[in-house]
Symmetry: C2
Amino acid sequence: VSYSLDRVLAGEVVAGARLMRDVDDRRPAGLALLKQLHPHTGKAYITGVTGNPGAGKSTVVDALIAHHRAAGHKVGVVAVDPTSPFSGGAILGDRIRMQRHALDPGVFIRSLATRGHLGGLSRSTFDVVSVLDAMGYDQILVETVGVGQDEIEVMRAAHTSVVVTVPGLGDDIQAIKAGLLEIADVLCVNKADREGVDRTVRDLLHMLDLRPTSGHDGFGTGKEVEIVQTIATKGLSDGSGIVELAAAVERHRAVAWTGEAGIRRARIRASAQIAELVRALLADRVEQGLARGLADEADAVVQRREDPYTVAERLVARLR
Amino acid sequence: VSYSLDRVLAGEVVAGARLMRDVDDRRPAGLALLKQLHPHTGKAYITGVTGNPGAGKSTVVDALIAHHRAAGHKVGVVAVDPTSPFSGGAILGDRIRMQRHALDPGVFIRSLATRGHLGGLSRSTFDVVSVLDAMGYDQILVETVGVGQDEIEVMRAAHTSVVVTVPGLGDDIQAIKAGLLEIADVLCVNKADREGVDRTVRDLLHMLDLRPTSGHDGFGTGKEVEIVQTIATKGLSDGSGIVELAAAVERHRAVAWTGEAGIRRARIRASAQIAELVRALLADRVEQGLARGLADEADAVVQRREDPYTVAERLVARLR
């Protein structure tokens, strides 16, 4: 094994990358080290960035990276990709834009693909964030395409959730946005030089008014959510609105993650992680149990000799 | 209980709707009847319709409903909605378009929202499809916004998967499309009067060439996927291309769901349903186990007295 507690804590890039790979493959050595890292985490601030496809999330993340680098921070990025259930590959073309930062030793970018379908994304995000945190990346950005329930769960790993949207989206996408809106701590209206930006802001304010609670954690109301307009340009830390966006995240941090509120939020975040891990452990056991195949049971169901519900109950009873 | 095996098999709408509601709420009476229905299912043909947000899936489904009605079929529709993790509400505005069919006793439309996040959507889809099938709806359409892994899993309930796309989408959306492409049995390029349709078809053909296997089930290659161009107009059964689309689905049915291939596919579909049910049963147990709250465990993790992985392992050991 080419990593150790010391090397990861020293921020060695090769050691960190290998650890992430082994954790992803669920190798015992990687998982054991992950446990040892825990006491050394909790120093990083984690900002989640999600939003509608096409809203320019990657460009916003890119600008935030440049902003944090200019302020002297080490920046970790977790880029969560939608993935085919078959290829295991990740295919977001605009991720390539971020590779420019690959030459900057103060930036570490890790892509995550969907694995299986039982909370794998959220578990992996927590894992990678822990490694980056222990390595000394003090600003961590989690970017995810905000389209499915899994992607929304990913935001539980973040301290502040930034939801990026743009003026002028179609109906289907509006519906997705409504789901995203409920987890937003800060709203970023990107491409704010587009026509219709005033209407978009007005619509968002109206939707926020209807929101009973703020964020994943049920604190505050929609009225506490700031709306920031950006015209993000890749690599410009002072891209129009990016300074304001970062400041809005800082204000949320000051309100939400200090004092009693901060303690309650930290507890909720840890509960979410533990619950995710419990689900993942059970899911692993199910997959192992089902791996032997279900040919006989399936035939019984197809031929209507048995119903699938009774078959499933019997299998679960056997798994115990 | 206002439903019975006889009333559901007789196709009584009120009985069917109440059964679906009770199954959704996991009431024992509903689940018991679901088991009894199984021998009476297997008669319906199930077409899944998914695709990019904004591709006009609802309009295509609407046109397919009209097409099947004109041919004398009873049509069941399962509309799967992306849902906020909080409100439990479903918000697809364009679903309203389909309500026109609500006056037609030969059409039964059931919306499904995301419940929890452990395969709930896929389980519920199988359940509703079974009730519709037993009620005598012989053509069933499952519509889902094809954005997340959960939504793709939903398509396992279908015999033929139609993926709807449109010319001229952005980068993010292209990535999602690539995932969808792998489960397509038939590709529908909607809004085919738009500029760039030839290029879209060419791109799709190229992507299909790269696809190693076809559909969820690993049969055939991308070369067997038909591409149909449509200009779906709501309510027109002869909307440009809809007859061709329905014919392409029929051709897929004839090849994929007859003879030896059909037996193999039916077995794979039943296996997927059983596996989904096993996961759901275990997930229910996890949620019950976690419902008492994790405050002590979370505090230990936040204060770095324990790591979350060890805590999760202990909780799982206790669940057995």
